[in-house]
């Protein structure tokens, strides 16, 4: 194995704060990871000269060349399956699925091999690889461009599944995912690609496997991730006028689940609701509600609520606003609790 790691190369010096979108932060993370470690290679559909349909890989091919980042044939199982082989040889492939409904052809490779290889080989054959999946809706996408597929991956032991909600986390968590010894499903909420923050790079936020309290409150814990963190924060703002103090937890890591941070918040507020775009039935929120209840039942004043998309296939652009959880819908859901009994 002649692959060499060039981690002696210093991190780029922290830049002055610059306004970056989440897409820009992801681009910077890929650029810095590729510069730091020559085992990192990037490929997928349209990631080369085009720079990806969301421009996350913009300019990387001209910097690093076609041996480090290239356009693959249009076949998602092929992309993930070959990434497995590359990781087996010591590379650190970072592959893109373009849209999450287009990741389904790779399902077998993900579930049967990416998730199981380390366990099958008793740790002899780890797969350090990242599968980037632009996910969720609210971008006016036609069918198959707005799915929320997280529950398929979180239901699979062996996969690490994370979803950042802001540019700083996007940079930090992608760097950490690429450095991870285990395969990571890195989900990027499309509606947040253009969210901006002033960042000093390279920024490192909380560890990838931890949830973070992004707004403190006393009465309710809203558990959100990816695109619904903003929804939760807007609901919390609106609730102030009603005298309701809402705490917002950004889960960040969907698998593993940070029970410690979540339980601490729930025990403080004694009420919790989980918010996601995906359908409710059998969705990720079901797991969250169940484990929060199992671990904190005697601290809860009310059942854990799920505020989610309806149990329908993702709607067309003119109808998606009726499907997605909104701050109003969040507050309406919280109002269904019997507050007087508390």
């Amino acid at each position: 194995m002649s692959a060499t790691r060039t981690d002696a190369r210093p991190e780029p010096a922290a830049s002055a704060p610059a306004t970056l979108t989440m897409a820009g932060a992801l681009n910077a993370a890929l650029r810095d990871a590729m510069a730091a470690d020559d085992r990192v290679v990037v490929y997928g559909e349209d990631v080369g000269p085009l720079g990806g349909v969301f421009r996350v890989t913009d300019g990387l091919q001209s910097t690093f060349g076609e041996d480090r980042i290239w356009d693959s044939p249009l076949a998602e199982s092929g992309i993930v399956g070959t990434a497995i082989g590359m990781a087996m040889y010591g590379m650190r492939p970072v592959v893109e699925m373009q849209f999450d409904a287009f990741s389904y052809p790779a399902f077998e490779q993900m579930v049967s091999h990416v998730a199981k290889m380390r366990n099958r080989t008793k740790g002899r054959m780890p797969l350090p690889m990242v599968v980037r999946i632009p996910c969720a809706g609210a971008i006016g996408g036609v069918e198959h461009h707005s799915d929320s597929s997280e529950a398929y991956w979180t239901a699979t032991p062996g996969l690490t599944v994370v979803m950042p909600s802001n540019p700083a986390d996007a940079y930090s968590m992608l760097r950490e995912a690429i450095e991870s010894e285990d395969p990571v499903v890195f989900m990027e909420p499309k509606s947040r690609y253009w969210a901006k923050d002033a960042l000093e790079l390279p920024v490192r936020t909380a560890p990838m496997d931890r949830a973070v309290v992004v707004r403190e409150g006393a009465d309710v814990t809203l558990l959100a991730y990816g695109p619904t963190v903003r929804t939760a924060l807007e609901a919390a703002d609106a609730a102030v006028a009603e005298g309701l103090s809402i705490e917002v937890v950004d889960l960040r890591s969907l698998s593993p689940f940070d029970d410690e941070t979540v339980s601490a918040s729930v025990r403080k507020t004694s009420r919790a609701a989980v918010i996601h775009e995906a359908a409710q039935f059998g969705g990720y929120g079901a797991e969250v509600a169940a484990r929060v209840t199992e671990r904190n039942f005697h601290h809860l004043a009310a059942p854990v609520l799920r505020i989610t998309g309806f149990d329908i296939p993702y709607p067309s652009p003119k109808l998606e606003e009726f499907h997605l959880p909104t701050p109003d819908r969040v507050l309406a859901a919280l109002a269904t609790w019997e507050w007087d009994l508390a």
Partner: protein, 404 residues
């Protein structure tokens, strides 16, 4: 470097390597626009006579010493396979997919691969693993049910045996592409069956390999059945090698019961791949003599006379006829080979009759690089159950000898 026998002995007596340049190679890039010959490439006919003319596809018969070694490997493989099937019938293994009758494909192809190269096998390729130097007990750990894989991938440069069809072909393409990016002269060889060529991953693997020009060799063992379904229900193509043309890759339709042809064609493909010539698709036309596995009933879907027809085309007997006619298989050598095969069978019996050591708590140890809190919690619960069972003397049979 010779491939070393499972028990540390070099299998090849007197020949330092198959790869010492003694044989002619067809490393020039073949025409990828023309269909492969519909008549399989053959170097030895069923009567054990050397074939001449166009039927050889331009490939040379390997020298007698190489052929003798291939014979030895096939005899050992056959004895191992028969032994494992018997052990499976005795209940020592959960299942075993036999490669009986396919030894020319398995041994011809794998013997052409260097130790530095990588092999991506399926569940049916246990005899190729044996030839690759992997211990019987390590090969069979998965079929016994100890763990999903029992050997060291890196030590043998051999991936775990894939069960989902054709999925491993993509891993072979990815690994060989990575090697090429690193300028390492490594080839990846993968085996798949005729049924697997219907899978989408076979198409994607063939296409990625051809587009990226990876050093990959695809060995399609056409044993004519996917469990019960015959080849005619998998494809309308005249041969499976024809598929190569659509990918812009050379394809060869080979007599898969002729180990000389399988070895020569595979070796040429490997050398072409190593020298930057890209991937090759090789179809070996053979026959699965045994059932799919011990739980299959082939009398429901094929006639006994068809099996008999193919038994008369046995790959080992064919080579034996040739070696005997050439005076290259003296009685003492034949006896020595038979003894070596018996020794492998005895070793296999011994290792498979011993009780496996399994540890239920290991279930949690290899899922992630860093242990997760939730898994440690679950591990603790199982440990407590095991301790309780051990203390009460009611250790469930499934946990026998397992608690730690």
């Amino acid at each position: 470097m010779p491939i070393v026998h499972a028990f540390g002995k070099a299998l090849i007596g007197g020949i330092p390597s198959f790869h010492d340049g003694a044989m002619s190679l067809s490393v020039e890039r073949p025409d990828t626009r023309s269909l492969p010959s519909q008549k399989p490439i053959r170097l030895l006919d069923n009567a054990g006579h050397a074939v001449h003319g166009s039927a050889t596809g331009g490939f040379d018969l390997p020298d007698p010493a190489t052929l003798l070694d291939l014979y030895r490997r096939m005899v050992v493989a056959r004895r191992f396979d028969v032994q494992v099937t018997a052990l499976t019938r005795q209940g020592r293994l959960a299942t075993y997919p036999s490669a009986l009758g396919q030894e020319a494909c398995e041994i011809g192809a794998i013997s052409a691969l260097e130790a530095c190269d990588w092999f991506f096998p399926t569940y049916r390729d246990s005899v190729a693993l044996l030839t690759r130097g992997i211990e019987p007990g390590d090969i069979l750990a998965s079929f016994r049910g100890d763990w999903h894989n029992g050997y060291d991938q890196h030590a043998h440069r051999t991936a775990s045996q894939a069960t989902p069809l054709a999925t491993q072909a993509l891993h072979a393409v990815g690994l060989s592409h990575a090697a090429r990016l690193r300028n390492d002269p490594i080839v990846a060889l993968t085996m798949l069956g005729d049924g697997a060529t219907s899978e989408g991953d076979a198409h994607e693997a063939f296409n990625f390999a051809a587009v990226w020009q990876t050093p990959t060799v695809f060995i399609v063992q056409n044993n004519q059945f996917a469990i019960s379904v015959p080849l005619s229900r998998q494809t309308r193509a005249a041969t499976l090698a024809d598929k190569a043309v659509g990918y812009g890759m050379p394809g060869f339709h080979v007599d898969g019961n002729d180990v000389a042809a399988m070895f020569a064609v595979t070796r040429a493909a490997i050398e072409r791949a190593r020298s930057g010539g890209g991937p090759t698709l090789i179809e070996g036309l053979t026959y699965r003599i045994e059932a799919h596995t011990n739980s299959d009933d082939p009398t429901r879907y094929r006639a006994a006379r068809d099996v008999e027809h193919w038994k008369r085309r046995d790959p080992i007997e064919r080579l034996e006829r040739y070696l005997v006619s050439e005076g290259a298989l003296p009685e003492d050598v034949r006896t020595e080979i038979a003894d070596a095969a018996e020794q492998v069978a005895a070793d296999t019996r011994q290792v498979m009759t011993a009780e496996a050591t399994i540890d239920p708590l290991e279930l949690f140890d290899h899922v992630y690089a860093n242990p997760r809190a939730a898994l440690l919690e679950q591990r603790g619960r199982l440990a407590a159950e095991l301790a309780e069972a051990a203390a009460s003397g009611s250790t469930p049979a499934a946990h026998a000898g397992a608690a730690r």
